[in-house]
């Protein structure tokens, strides 16, 4: 049982500035990595900067459990004139996820980049990777709507080129990255238009100030348009069905490190921002808000679960299957949101962490296989468990969490959403989740069956066990899914505190 409020990982002076250091340290690390003399040196910088960033995120998490909300003024000016970081338990949880996956991914990158990215690009790649981390943490910590856009783009612009860097292995990474860029930029621009409408109505950009002012206004068409654009824009970034077209390509063809990082963090940060707007900025009494959740978000989420799970079943390339599965799992998260209760939101947040960890594990395991073998289609992975047992074991643990096997975090996550759905009388949701889980068992079952129970094709290149530099972060990631499945106190307290905070603010 870990009590975050009792956790002091840094001296008080450092903790006071930890929110901004969690952003600034990866940023300065990116600068150092860009100038590094060799790929190895840039890798070392990347690992150190990610670790310090994660440490700062942990310090912030502890502080948030003690103080409830941390407000850090930037530039010394109080909001709304100045920009302030506003961190509650929900934001702290997301930042911890980003820090953890970023650090483990950075360690993994030492071997992965050598196999997948051209050698002269390694320093730039690490710099881009650290920039993406800094951008995502900034997005999650900020309390200003336009500042959120800026950091959203900081993380995205680097990521588009990072996805394209997978072209050495698979030239389809290039059009996939281009498509991702178009959709991502459209999403960000829609978001800016939405913020423009809200600014026109309230005169402020600070989200807490906006919430207070919107509560006193009647819901004009301008406010509704702002709402629609913000949700559409963030929906594009979060790969909400039916705006998910860019995701399968980007996940399937980019480098393994980027697939694992994006799957675990990028879409989740957009979902986090959407939750902020849905539950905090827009007032409780907004009739269109409730109608939206029940009649638009919930059906789309259900469609995502069923349709994308089915698409995963029928895919032939392994990484594409996992990508479709990601969209389906995001549907689960949105189902939790649409329940619009503290339990539903808390369950959805918990699911975000569970999904992040399980997908990161699966993609990292595939990256481990990719170091020795260029297999793409599911059937080419036949019998790989015999050649690379530890990597396959980690993959299996991630897959088990995906399906919701007891003793994994995925099981607890699914259980919590089901409980919240039943408590609010939405039994149809339980049916949808059950159907989605059955489909998940089918496609995961296919993967496990091919890897573990089939004979390797004679004449096919033999895979090798992943090197230690890959096995360590991989097994840690897999272990986290199991640890939090048994003792979920660390993410649970943050998720519950965050959800409670959002649902008691409203009268």
């Amino acid at each position: 049982m870990i009590e975050l409020a009792a956790l002091y990982v840094a001296p008080p002076t450092l903790t006071a500035h930890a929110p901004v250091l969690a952003i600034a340290v990866p940023l300065l690390g990116a600068c150092a990595a860009a100038l590094a003399p060799s790929g190895r040196a840039s890798w070392v910088i990347s690992v150190i900067a990610s670790m310090v960033g994660a440490w700062m995120a942990l310090a912030v998490a502890g502080e948030v459990m003690r103080e409830n909300v941390i407000i850090y003024q930037l530039g010394g000016f109080a909001p709304p004139a100045g920009i302030a970081l506003r961190i509650d338990a929900m934001g702290a949880l997301l930042a911890l996820l980003i820090g953890a996956v970023g650090t483990l991914g950075a360690i993994f990158s030492g071997h992965s980049l050598v196999a997948e990215v051209r050698p002269e690009k390694h320093t730039l790649f690490q710099a881009g990777f650290l920039l993406a981390q800094a951008g995502l943490v900034g997005l999650v910590y900020t309390g200003d709507a336009f500042n959120a856009f800026v950091f959203l783009e900081v993380s995205s612009i680097g990521t588009y080129a990072l996805v394209a860097a997978g072209e050495r292995r698979d030239r389809r990474a290039l059009p996939a990255a281009f498509n991702y860029l178009i959709m991502g930029t459209l999403g960000a621009t829609f978001y800016v238009i939405g913020v423009g409408f809200l600014y026109a109505a309230t005169g402020t950009l600070n989200m807490a100030d906006m919430a207070a002012r919107l509560g006193t206004l009647d819901q004009s068409a301008a406010v509704q348009a702002g709402f629609a654009f913000i949700v559409a824009g963030l929906g594009l970034k979060a790969a909400m069905f039916p705006l998910h077209g860019w995701l399968p390509g980007a996940y399937a063809h980019g480098p393994s490190l980027i697939s694992l990082f994006l799957a675990a963090t990028a879409t989740k940060a957009a979902i986090y921002l959407m939750a902020r707007f849905l539950f905090e900025v827009f007032p409780d009494g907004a009739a269109f808000g409730e109608a939206f959740l029940d009649w638009v978000l919930a059906p789309l989420a259900a469609a995502a679960v069923i349709i994308c799970s089915a698409q995963a079943v029928f895919s032939s390339e392994l990484r594409r299957m996992i990508a479709f599965s990601s969209v389906a799992q995001v549907g689960f998260i949105f189902l939790g949101f649409s329940i619009a209760s503290a339990d539903g939101l808390s369950a959805a947040l918990f699911y975000i962490v569970a999904h992040g960890l399980m997908k990161a594990t699966m993609f990292m395991a595939l990256g481990g296989f990719a170091i020795s073998v260029g297999a793409r289609r599911l059937n080419d992975f036949a019998g790989i468990a015999r050649e690379a047992p530890w990597t396959a074991l980690a993959f299996a643990i991630g897959a088990a969490s995906l399906v919701g096997t007891p003793l994994t975090m995925g099981f607890l996550a699914k259980w919590q959403i089901i409980e919240a759905a039943i408590a609010s009388g939405r039994v149809w949701m339980v049916v949808v989740m059950a159907a989605g889980s059955v489909l998940a068992v089918i496609y995961v079952g296919r993967m496990v069956e091919v890897m573990f129970f089939r004979e390797a094709v004679p004449g096919a290149p033999r895979a090798k066990e992943s090197p230690i530099g890959v096995l360590v972060p991989l097994l840690v990631l897999a272990g986290l899914s199991v640890w939090f499945g048994i003792d979920a106190s660390l993410p649970q307290q943050l998720a519950q505190s965050g959800a409670a905070g959002l649902f008691t603010v409203r009268p």
Partner: protein
């Protein structure tokens, strides 16, 4: 609500907007990529004029240099490299987007009619935070240009993010196109007796003036329109002009790609470094009032800036100066790097075409 004042200003606004609509439709209809890019350039220039009519001097400046300048250069480089000339038109593909555009446009026009009147000084947007900047800048920061004060100090964290975005673009383009190393193998431009004598002489006269102008824009950013972004792009344009007239090889000898990359990094480090120094001196991140320790402030002779009672403005003044310098470095170096990336590959494309 106050109705908009229908004066010459408004008439100009209407005329320019109608020109923009015509240009936009021309871009939609044209099948030639070169025409589309040049139309977009004209669009940017007309937008810049419109922005001046809207009292947005800094934005007009930025739109002119960035939209009409850098975007055009990069886009022209792209069509040269992709040998793109004509766009294929597929009529079936246009039906659904056309319907969507009309429907969404209609809904948006309905939403937009609920907005406050154009030019209304009492609208929420113009009376809350925006207006407070006009009232408090003189006391807090002391710079006449309120836009620079907001950009550099009140919302300085946003500007740091923006600088990092430019740096990310530098890294992204370098990842995709490299630094043009093969350009150093390009043949030297033959400078004797060719057609471009006038161009070369004029360029030699203009380039130092352009750089001087960039520095002027940089350091007068808080007094008039200007600032780091505009200055950075203008400085990059001077270097690009040199490359266009004298050849990439000579330019890369003068401003090597490695130097450009280092300067871009140092710009971001300078900006973030200013923030860290403020923390070290006891304030918050980017809180310029803590930029100088009391010992340093004591060394500055009072009355130097002309208002002895606003001592705490020193931190603000120098803080904005340093971060704008960081922005200048990153922006100029990134634009040069992007140009090298595209231009470096052009050399390959031309050589490949010559070989076939």
């Amino acid at each position: 609500m106050t109705a908009p004042i229908l004066d010459a200003n408004f008439a100009l606004n209407v005329a320019l907007l109608l020109m923009l609509v015509v240009l936009a439709f021309a871009v939609v209809r044209t099948r030639s990529l070169l025409a589309a890019i040049l139309l977009l350039t004209v669009f940017s220039l007309v937008s810049a004029t419109w922005l001046m009519v809207m009292d947005a001097a800094d934005v007009a400046f930025t739109e002119a240099v960035v939209g009409a300048g850098i975007s055009t250069i990069v886009a022209l480089g792209a069509i040269l490299l992709t040998r793109g000339e004509v766009v294929r038109v597929n009529w079936k593909r246009q039906v659904v987007p056309g319907l969507l555009a009309v429907i969404v446009g209609g809904m948006l026009i309905y939403a937009v009619s609920a907005l406050p009147d154009f030019g209304d000084p009492a609208s929420p947007a113009n009376s809350h935070v925006g207006r407070s900047y006009l009232e408090t800048t003189k006391h807090d920061i002391g710079a006449p240009n309120v836009v620079t004060a907001v950009l550099g100090s009140y919302r300085g964290f946003d500007t740091l993010g923006e600088t990092v975005v430019i740096f990310a673009a530098c890294i992204g383009v370098a990842l995709m196109l490299g630094f043009g190393p093969r350009a150093t193998l390009a043949p030297a431009v033959d400078t004797l007796g060719d057609h471009h004598v006038v161009l070369r002489v004029v360029a030699k006269l203009l380039i130092p003036l352009i750089i001087l102008f960039a520095l002027y824009v940089q350091f007068h950013g808080d007094l008039g329109a200007g600032g780091g972004f505009q200055a950075g792009v203008i400085m990059a344009v001077a270097i690009i002009l040199h490359a266009l007239v004298f050849g990439l090889r000579d330019t890369m000898a003068a401003v090597p790609a490695r130097v450009a990359r280092t300067v871009a990094v140092l710009g971001v480090v300078l900006y973030a470094g200013v923030g860290i120094v403020c923390i070290a001196n006891g304030g918050g991140f980017l809180d310029y009032d803590y930029l100088f320790t009391p010992q340093v402030e004591a060394m500055i002779p009072p009355g130097l800036l002309g208002d002895p009672d606003h001592v705490h403005h020193w931190g603000q003044h120098f803080g904005i100066l340093f971060i704008e310098l960081g922005v200048l470095m990153t922006v100029a170096a990134t634009m040069v790097t992007i140009f090298y990336g595209f231009a470096g590959r052009t050399v390959d494309a031309i050589e490949a075409r010559a070989r076939t």
